[in-house]
Amino acid sequence: MEGKRSRWSSQPRPCDLLRKIREFTRAIVEDLSNGRSPEILIDRFRNYCSNSSADCYCSSDLPKGKETLTLRRESHVHRLDVLLRVLVVVQQLLQENRHASKRDIYYMHPSIFSDQSVVDRAINDICILLQCSRHNLNVVSVGKGLVMGWLRFTEARNMFDCINRPNTAYPVPVHVEEVKDIVSVAKYILVVEKESVFQRLADDQFCNSNHCIVITGRGYPDISTRRFLGLLVDTLHLPIYCLVDCDPYGFDILSTYRFGSLQMAYDAKFLRVPEIIWLGAFPLDSEKYRLPQQCLLPLTAEDKRKTEAMLQRCYLEREVPQWRLELQLMLESGVKFELEALSVHELSSLSTEYIPSKIQGGLHI
């Protein structure tokens, strides 16, 4: 299919990865046998910088520098050891076609890994070294996301018939690469920040009356939710709207869908969904939809700090200057509010008034 992008076409096969692991190992053994210190170069990635002045290369998805691991420093040796230990686990997972979570891997050598974050970094490093995505390593996390609406698909031959009960939440499949036979006649996809709003829409029979698919990542979206979303977008070519709280976290979550997260920047091209359209809530909605004063909370110092930091992100100015303006507006207004505040006057106003008016009126950016 023409619409399929690189996101789905160039998935490395397990045997390719196993070969890469062997090559990697072989190189190390060869170096050692020849009395050379192995030097392992790891690319570093960032998907944004705080240099909004223009000519940064954050949009290019190219590495921004390299790290070198050698046997010269204790910390390097330890890090190399962790990396290789995780690689042993990964090799095993790939050979046996099993899956494990980051936490599972941590528990293989808890004393040596000392901390979960050490394992997380090693996994990221391995992905960079082997030029693959995390799920290619058969490292998965427990799924957090939910989906409902006009959608039918299979995951490893198990049928997910959401359309049968379009107001029932289904867990987002963890093994997105096993998802097949996606069928939908929906008009659009709606991503909501949190479960509470998702439930509101379910209770309002929103999908029934609007012929759409609703997805939530329950806060910061996990990888499977983002990949599943990407898969739907690529397969169904539907517009995709996003509804988040009007607060710094909501905006950050929105940015995570749109641009990917910093710590997974190496894989951003597979994890981001650039097609996403911001539907709301915008700072000015508080006036437009007559939100009572009690629902508007002042931004805390932490909120302001976070907002100011986000305003620096280069991709905003470059790609979505209008988003940035809204964020700026939020900071200036000094208040934030949650989506639930829109339901104050009328419980179903989110589904009967707010969302339809936004979509029909083109009030999104």
Partner: protein, 477 residues
């Protein structure tokens, strides 16, 4: 330099005699004879005779001796030296008497009638003095002096130390110190080679007075690891070159329970020589020793004990069976021609010589004197080896395994995982050790931003934090 005691004076006289021998082209003999007189005083007076067959001495040599007041304080010596000397070209044997108690140097000397040589061609000197002193104390001190001076392995001097107990027959003690006894060197060997060989002999003899290798401590030669270093400094103005030679020996004692253990235990006495003689070590040199970056050789320097000219270096964390020996020799390479030139005690010279010696030792003996840093890295090697081995071992690709084995020089069949692991460990360790040698150059290559990326982490914690919030709200149901 002022001489502070009569014993020091004796050593000075012996040292001078040794220099006269060394200056001679021929083989020479240096005899020190201690003879207890039968006089009924206590302690009985000891007559000390220092005689040598070296080039003759000049009168000024004795007239210029400067003694502190304290040297006469304890009234064990009357200040009188009798000197008999003749040069190879002299026709007479001269006799002098020096009264060193006399402050005005011109009044010190009394010329006595000389003897004709009757045309015989020989040279030599004898210096005698009588003091009230324990003969054992003198014997021990002079012995130690000779043991040390042997380290220089000056090839043409034989030393004889004799004790005669008055008229008691059969009570004569005699010890001969020969430079080439332990480990003969070619006559043309350099000063540094002699110093190295001398220190080796000294270490093997292990402080015992037997003059031979201590078999219970050293069962074979290989336990010594030696490094040498030379630092030169051209003092341009005088056209003279100051040389600092350093030899470092690491010895491994085979049996800890041995009774041969040195008194200084795991401390290191720095054996200091100056212009081919035993010398006390100067304060500034001690300072130089403390300022060496021992850590980069895996040594933890605790401090230095400066005991009136002896410097004892103290170590921490040194394994109990390891001993470190250091000797330093500082001289002008035109000595004795220019011996009157004062040498600057150059701290840099000491540091440089010792560092070169340490590097030399490390180079020759892989795995020794690894830096503290490399030691830490090396501690990770078993883990890393195990990991790499398990990467190989857990691969289901047998070709790959065999390929790896062949890299490691192992047979493709029938090797156990421990063997692989051990082999990899060896390789890793040797890489680490090699890396440690040429550290200074390499270190600059490592990109410095490797671990500065920690600020990347700050937004990474978000997801975790958010998950915690979830955890809480689940309680809320």
């Amino acid at each position: 330099m002022n001489i502070a005691s009569v014993r020091e004076l004796c050593l000075q006289l012996i040292s001078s005699a040794f220099q006269r021998c060394r200056a001679s082209d021929d083989l020479c003999r240096l005899s020190v004879i201690l003879r207890r007189s039968s006089a009924p005083s206590f302690p009985p007076p000891v007559r000390i005779s220092v005689s040598d067959t070296g080039v003759g001495s000049c009168v000024e040599e004795f007239g210029a001796l400067k003694l502190c007041r304290e040297a006469f304080g304890s009234e064990i010596w009357d200040g009188m030296l009798s000197v008999t000397t003749t040069g190879i070209g002299d026709n007479e044997i001269f006799h002098y008497q020096f009264n060193l108690k006399e402050a005005v140097s011109t009044r010190r000397l009394t010329r006595l009638p000389s003897n004709p040589k009757n045309g015989q061609k020989f040279s030599g000197t004898e210096v005698c003095l009588s003091i009230f002193e324990s003969i054992d104390v003198l014997l021990a001190e002079i012995s130690r002096f000779f043991q040390k001076i042997l380290i220089l392995k000056i090839p043409n001097v034989a030393i004889q130390l004799v004790v005669e107990h008055g008229d008691v027959p059969g009570s004569r003690y005699e010890h001969v110190f020969l430079p080439n006894e332990g480990n003969p060197l070619h006559f043309s060997a350099s000063n540094l080679e002699r110093l190295k060989s001398g220190l080796e002999d000294y270490v093997f003899k292990h402080g015992n007075t037997l003059g031979k290798k201590c078999e219970s401590c050293f069962s074979n030669w290989e336990h010594l690891k030696v490094g040498t270093g030379v630092a030169c400094c051209t003092e341009s103005r005088k056209y003279s070159e100051s040389v600092m030679e350093a030899v470092i020996v690491m010895s491994e004692i085979s049996e800890l329970a041995s009774t041969c253990l040195r008194t200084c235990g795991s401390k290191t006495e720095v054996l200091y020589f100056k212009d081919f003689s035993v010398s006390p070590i100067s304060q500034s040199s001690v300072k130089a020793l403390t300022s060496i970056d021992w850590k980069s050789y895996g040594l933890t320097f605790r401090g230095v004990v400066d005991q009136g000219g002896f410097a004892l270096l103290e170590w921490e964390n040194l394994p109990p069976y390891i001993r470190i020996h250091i000797s330093l020799h500082h001289y002008h390479n035109q000595y004795p021609k220019l011996s009157r030139l004062k040498m600057q005690p150059d701290q840099n010279l000491i540091r440089k010589a010792i560092k070169l010696a340490l590097d030399d030792l490390k180079d020759k003996h892989t795995g020794e004197l690894l830096s503290a840093h490399a030691l830490k890295v090396r501690n990770c090697a078993p883990d890393l080896a195990k990991t790499i081995s398990s990467l190989i071992w857990h691969s289901n690709d047998s070709n790959f395994r065999e390929e790896c084995f062949s890299f490691l020089g192992l047979p493709s069949q029938g090797v156990g995982s421990e063997v692989v692991e051990d082999r990899i460990k060896e390789k890793i360790i040797s890489v680490i050790e090699m890396n440690d040698k040429d550290q200074p150059q390499r270190h600059k290559e490592v990109p410095s931003f490797l671990f500065e990326v920690d600020h990347f982490q700050d937004s990474g914690s978000q997801d975790e934090k958010y998950e915690d919030e979830d955890a809480f709200s689940s309680m809320d149901i």
